[in-house]
């Protein structure tokens, strides 16, 4: 919170606040956080969120590794990140306090569920004494002890629910209390409760009561003397919704299906953090979307290849380990030149790695990771709402150039959400597609001006032909082992993918067009870089920013852009993969800022690096 002064019974205006909800993985913290975010979005604030949860679905209660958190940053101005350091921590148990206290802003607010601070839970959290009695904690933070479990149970004592189910309502009590403290309406959540639990009236009523009791508790108790208000942001006119990256990808491909007139087919095997896309798309039956939950990752992509062969807009979704399994089939799509989008929601690797944590370490895999010379265009989404447009872009490239396309997202933007100004459906361009129907002069590997081959789908009379993974003779597509033909075809496939560059917009530079330092990013680091650059500039540092969507092939002007700056800083959640690609492709040295913790960058980490590079000379 920007303003620290607290007055009795006051409504205080703040510019921005970051709250982190934390509790056991079974405490409903993701739900609490996302409800708070949705309400806050409806209220008109700009916001960013960061869900952070363990891979274990229900880790043993009270343990440190079972802590699940959800951070939301909201503001009356534009924001780009879920916030570096929370102002407020809601800790449902000692483990949640222990894990999260180190991130909290000094002087920040802690709301704790005192009922869970018993000897058993303190032991599980490896506390030797009760931290709520620790003078240092009490003097460094504003601690509000609330007996959430007891207050919730008392409020619901007449509910027909079991004690266990009553206890499960306590996250709504905490949510209600936060709504009061931050002056948010409770109605959207009440409405949501009845939509979600409408058929289970007892549960719906209990949750509503818990929510309201929490809200009224804030109002009536003397513990809380101040409410805070964050005024709506002055966002551009339009209709908005709150959106997470995976949902935006799902919407983007349905939009691409409508705009291309092609039926959408998704072949996929559930994998964190990509599963949401399969879940969303499987609910869009009335858009004619066909989803196939395959027996494994390989069947996910190969079924999509089958659908593409049949004339569908075909996609497959996965994360790193699944990408590894799909690799051979990607080569088949390259060889048969069929349109296909492979979506990789990156997570921490290698192997199973960190399934629920974010990383950007699959860039090499995307660009290079196949047997043979197998070029596949690669594009990356930068924010949750950008996922929508990136999906459209991927579909457009795949269909125009008859090629598989890899779309990279990551766990951070996949699960994080932000308000999105919904585009006018009519403003989204059509995606022109045509199947080959003319039998006269047909060969399966003819080329158009973009070097694309014709899409001749089964069912078309007179175009019966055979394709496959063996090397193709130029034009006829017959199997060919001819050495010269192989080299010709390898170069032709490479040239086709390189030709996509003609459609890649020039890389835009924000701020000065040349100078001392450019921060270049790709993918989900956009928010943190943008905030870091803005803050550094506010302090007088001259630093510019550019963000790559097209990673293969690059924008035509990339080399010129990078050469316009004395230094180029590349923050990446890997060991410097983009930096290495740039060095090998363009012979340009850059400065890498790397982080491999399964967590997104804090903007301060990038800002500090900017200041360090500019050495206090403000870039002048």
């Amino acid at each position: 919170m920007r303003e620290e002064k607290i007055l009795e019974k006051e409504l205080q205006n703040l510019k921005e606040v970051t709250i982190r909800f934390a509790g056991d993985s079974g405490d409903g913290m993701q739900l609490t956080g996302s409800q708070f975010s949705d309400t806050t979005a409806l209220f008109g604030n700009d916001l960013g969120t960061l869900p952070d949860y363990p891979a274990e679905i229900r880790a043993p209660a009270g343990t440190l590794y079972g802590v699940s958190g959800f951070q939301v940053h909201f503001s009356s101005a534009d924001i780009y990140t879920p916030g570096d350091t929370p102002d407020v921590l809601v800790a449902m148990n000692p483990a949640a306090l222990k894990i999260n206290i180190k991130d909290l802003k000094l002087g920040g607010t802690i709301i704790v569920n005192t009922d869970s601070f018993d000897s058993k839970n303190l032991g599980l959290a490896k506390y030797e004494s009760n931290p709520l009695e620790d003078e240092a904690l009490l003097s460094n933070y504003k601690v509000y002890p609330v007996a959430i479990t007891t207050l919730n149970a008392t409020a619901l004592k007449d509910s027909p629910l079991s004690n266990k189910d009553i206890n499960r309502c306590k996250n709504f009590f905490a949510l209600g209390l936060m709504y009061w403290i931050f002056n948010r309406p409770i109605e959207p959540t009440v409405k949501w409760i009845y939509e979600k639990f409408g058929k289970k009236q007892d549960i719906a009523e209990a949750n509503e009561k818990a929510l309201k009791t929490g809200y009224y508790y804030g109002e009536t108790t003397e513990t809380f003397t101040t409410r805070y208000s964050v005024e709506p942001a002055s966002l551009p006119k339009g209709v908005y919704r709150n959106i997470a990256g995976n949902e935006a990808i799902a919407l983007g491909f349905v939009a691409a299906s409508i705009k291309s007139g092609l039926p959408l087919f998704l072949g996929s095997y559930p994998i964190t953090p990509a599963t949401d896309i399969l879940q969303y798309l499987s609910s869009y039956k009335n858009f004619g979307v066909k989803t196939f939950q395959a027996e494994d990752e390989i069947a996910g992509i190969t079924s999509a290849i089958g659908a593409s062969y049949g004339g569908s807009l075909a996609i497959t979704t996965t994360s790193g380990p699944g990408m590894a399994l799909k690799t051979e089939a990607m080569g088949l799509a390259v060889m048969t030149e069929l349109p296909l989008v492979i979506i990789n929601i990156q997570r921490g690797g290698p192997s199973t790695g960190l399934p629920t944590k974010t990383e950007q370490a699959d860039l090499f895999q995307a660009i290079y990771g196949r047997n043979g010379e197998a070029p596949i265009p690669v594009i990356a989404a930068s924010t949750p709402s950008d996922c929508f447009f990136t999906a459209l872009e991927a579909a457009k490239i795949a269909l125009k150039y008859m090629t598989p396309v890899i779309l990279l997202s990551d766990g951070y933007i996949a699960n994080g959400s932000e308000p999105w100004r919904i585009p006018d459906p009519d403003s989204i361009p059509e995606i022109p597609v045509s199947y080959r129907t003319e039998a006269e002069g047909f060969f399966p590997y003819l080329r158009d001006e973009n070097l694309s081959r014709p899409w001749a789908v089964p069912g078309t009379p007179g175009l019966e032909h055979r394709i496959g993974g063996l090397e193709k003779a130029n034009i006829t597509g017959n199997v060919s082992y001819d050495p010269d033909n192989h080299e010709f075809m390898v170069r032709l496939r490479a040239a086709k993918v390189q030709k996509i560059q003609q459609d890649v917009p020039d890389l835009a530079i924000s701020h000065e067009q040349e100078g001392e330092l450019l921060v270049l990013g790709w993918g989900g680091t956009y928010g943190a870089i943008t905030e870091a650059v803005m803050k550094a500039r506010a302090e007088g540092h001259k630093v510019s920013q550019a963000h790559l969507k097209h990673l293969f092939p690059f924008p035509k002007n990339l080399s010129d852009v990078l050469n316009s700056f004395k230094n180029v800083l590349i923050p990446e959640l890997n060991l410097g993969q983009l930096a290495k690609v740039l060095r090998s492709e363009l012979l340009i040295d850059t400065i890498s800022l790397t982080k491999i913790k399964g967590l997104p960058f804090k903007s301060s980490e990038i800002q500090n690096k900017i200041v360090e590079i500019l050495g206090g000379n403000n870039g002048n």
Partner: protein
């Protein structure tokens, strides 16, 4: 572009000959390979199936048999090892109007592609799976396969294979395939009949074809195909008919509980009325399971014909009816209804 996907295969009458199904490619299997016969029987049968050739697709994986699509003048896709059924599944789900056939071998379908095979059967995807079972790896030049008998000496099992083989019809049965049959490359008439029956079936049709590899496993099925021994070693399963075999149809099979017993019909104590009457459409899989096991039972003849054929809704039918139902309930989705779903707010 507006596309309308038909949900049914067009079966308007058309006149083809077997030559219409031969592509312009030279057939490159080893001379004497059983694959030639399978290709010939398919090409002879297809004119009678009543489906336009542009609506037929052959999908294959990797192996000798997987060259099959190149020789058929239909649509064809020679894919990657083991994945033919998965690719065919995606094609069939997206294009119910196509008749989709898979040409595959014992390595392709049962080893590297085993997972896709069992799940295709389980889901009852409307595909015709033709397993060219030669009990050997031919394309890699002679290693044992998942259907090779235990003890088989090959290049990778110089002291005899220690693997137990799969029993393909039993595997298909356990995976709930709705049509399970077996035929022989050297019994053209029977093979043609089985191909026709597979074509008519709605759902996953699995046809195992014993196919001789004359280079690496020559004679593997000779006892079943040689005219001197065939009658004693093969029993033809015919619907509603007793299981009878032998040169003079003198041997019958009856069930003693769950145990099949061969009886001599020349012995007046045995009556044809006591024999096992084959029921292709048996709702219980138990008898088909016993029939599948004949090949593991010393002295029992190898069954050819249809082990079992049952009817249940295909995956396509489930998918299509769900789409229709939800569309009827919610109305056809538009881009506006998609983007402006609940939870929007306006900034003025």
């Amino acid at each position: 572009m507006e596309t309308k996907v038909e949900t049914k295969i067009d079966t308007n009458e058309i006149k083809y000959t077997s030559k219409d199904f031969a592509s312009d490619q030279d057939v490159r299997w080893c001379p004497g390979c059983g694959d030639y016969s399978v290709l010939a029987q398919v090409q002879r049968t297809f004119p009678d199936i009543g489906i336009k050739k542009e609506n037929m697709v052959w999908i294959s994986g990797i192996g000798c048999s997987s060259r099959f699509p190149y020789y058929m003048n239909t649509y064809g896709f020679h894919t990657i090892h083991g994945r033919a059924t998965a690719i065919a599944t995606g094609l069939k789900l997206s294009r119910p109007d196509l008749s989709v056939w898979v040409a595959t071998g014992d390595g392709d379908l049962l080893s590297i592609g085993g997972n896709h095979f069992i799940h295709t059967c389980r889901k009852n995807v409307d595909l015709k799976l033709l397993l060219f079972n030669n009990k050997i790896y031919g394309l890699t030049k002679g290693q044992y396969s998942p259907t090779s008998e235990k003890g088989k000496v090959t290049k990778t099992s110089p002291y005899g294979s220690v693997d137990y083989p799969f029993n393909p019809p039993l595997l298909a049965l356990g995976s709930e395939a709705t049509f399970i049959a077996r035929s022989l490359d050297r019994d053209p008439k029977h093979l043609q009949e089985m191909i026709k029956r597979a074509a008519e079936h709605k759902g996953t049709a699995f046809l195992e074809i014993y196919q001789n590899c004359n280079i690496f496993n020559d004679g593997a099925f000779e006892p079943l195909t040689d005219k001197n021994t065939k009658a004693d070693n093969v029993v033809v399963m015919t619907h509603d008919k007793p299981l009878i075999f032998g040169k003079n149809n003198e041997k019958g099979i009856k069930l003693d509980g769950f145990r099949p017993v061969i009886v001599d019909l020349n012995d007046p104590n045995n009556s044809i009325n006591d024999l096992w009457i084959h029921d292709e459409f048996d709702s219980s899989p138990v008898r088909a399971s016993i029939l599948s096991h004949f090949t593991d039972m010393p002295g029992m003849p190898t069954p050819i014909g249809i082990f079992r054929q049952i009817t249940k809704p295909t995956y396509n039918e489930g998918l299509t009816s769900q789409i229709e139902h939800v569309t009827e309930k919610k109305g056809k989705g538009t881009l506006k209804s998609l983007l402006y779903s609940p939870g929007t707010w306006e900034v003025n």
